[in-house]
């Protein structure tokens, strides 16, 4: 396959390289900080993928939620958990062949199951306006929105409950 040399294909290759690279670092690094940073990079590349699919709103949401939210939580967790361990922040893995086989097998399955369906080139899509988005979210997808909101609330409450034991 010879990719067209265009801005789009450059973005694609760049995104692919960075996202796979950062993901690999997350999976293989022994340094907990490097893991966190790579995870942040990964989150940003996911936002990049959304942009690549012309979903700017999703991209911003991804940045807001993950890069700005989840990653901070991860860092918090790291700080909490590593507080007692003053030494080098080393992560351990037990790399084993069966894990490799499973991961590769599952990835292969996904690719094989989709191989006939996916065209090479992405179609040019209309750029959805936020009004449209709001119409959909508050229209046909209102139940979904409500459900997710409820879930979020439950998540908040459960986090508070889990941390509630801190008070003595």
């Amino acid at each position: 396959m010879i990719a067209e040399f265009s801005a789009s294909s450059i973005a694609f290759w760049l995104l692919s390289a960075v996202s796979i690279g950062s993901a690999a670092v997350v999976v293989f690094t022994r340094d907990v900080m490097r893991l966190a940073i790579s995870l942040g990079v990964f989150f940003l590349t996911v936002a990049g993928w959304y942009l690549y699919f012309t979903h700017a709103f999703l991209a911003v949401a991804q940045v807001f939620l993950y890069a700005g939210g989840v990653l901070v939580l991860v860092l918090f967790a790291i700080m909490f958990l590593r507080r007692s361990k003053a030494g080098e922040p080393i992560l351990e893995s037990r790399h084993s062949t069966d894990s490799v086989v499973i991961a590769v097998g599952l990835g292969f399955l996904v690719v094989m199951s989709l191989r006939d369906r996916v065209p090479i080139a992405l179609p040019q899509q209309a750029f959805p306006t936020t009004t449209e988005l709001a119409d959909i979210l508050l229209g046909p997808m209102l139940p979904h929105l409500a459900a997710v909101s409820l879930l979020l609330l439950v998540a908040c409450v459960s986090v508070l409950v889990v941390f509630g034991g801190e008070r003595e």
Partner: protein, 106 residues
């Protein structure tokens, strides 16, 4: 090659991390990788014309669905991290091979 391969690779990497990492933080980070890969796959596939006769799903719907997914995944991650910290604080263990309490005590 297209994004399906990339997303699959990302997913496989995340899965490998989940299966092989010993530190719960790293496992959780790998789970985030899997989630991200899955969402990318979903958003990417949803826009493809081959999936429906109308030439792909309505971009607004894709975005809305993706947004809800993001929020859900973020909530799950927050709860997961909270649980993790609580477990670590109560048991002092953060390694998966130490956290084997689901097994019955012999």
């Amino acid at each position: 090659m297209n994004f399906v391969l990339v997303a699959s690779i990302l997913f496989g990497l995340g899965l490998y991390g989940v299966l092989s990492r010993r530190d719960v933080i790293a496992v959780l980070a790998s789970v985030e990788l899997m989630l991200g890969a899955a969402t990318v796959m979903l958003v990417g596939l949803a826009g493809l014309p081959s999936l429906s006769s109308q030439g792909g799903a309505d971009p607004g719907t894709i975005e809305a669905t993706g947004l809800l997914l993001l929020v859900m995944a973020a909530a799950a991650a927050a709860v997961g991290l909270a649980l993790l910290v609580a477990i670590a604080r109560s048991t002092g263990r953060t390694r998966t091979d130490e956290l084997t309490d689901v097994r019955d005590r012999p």
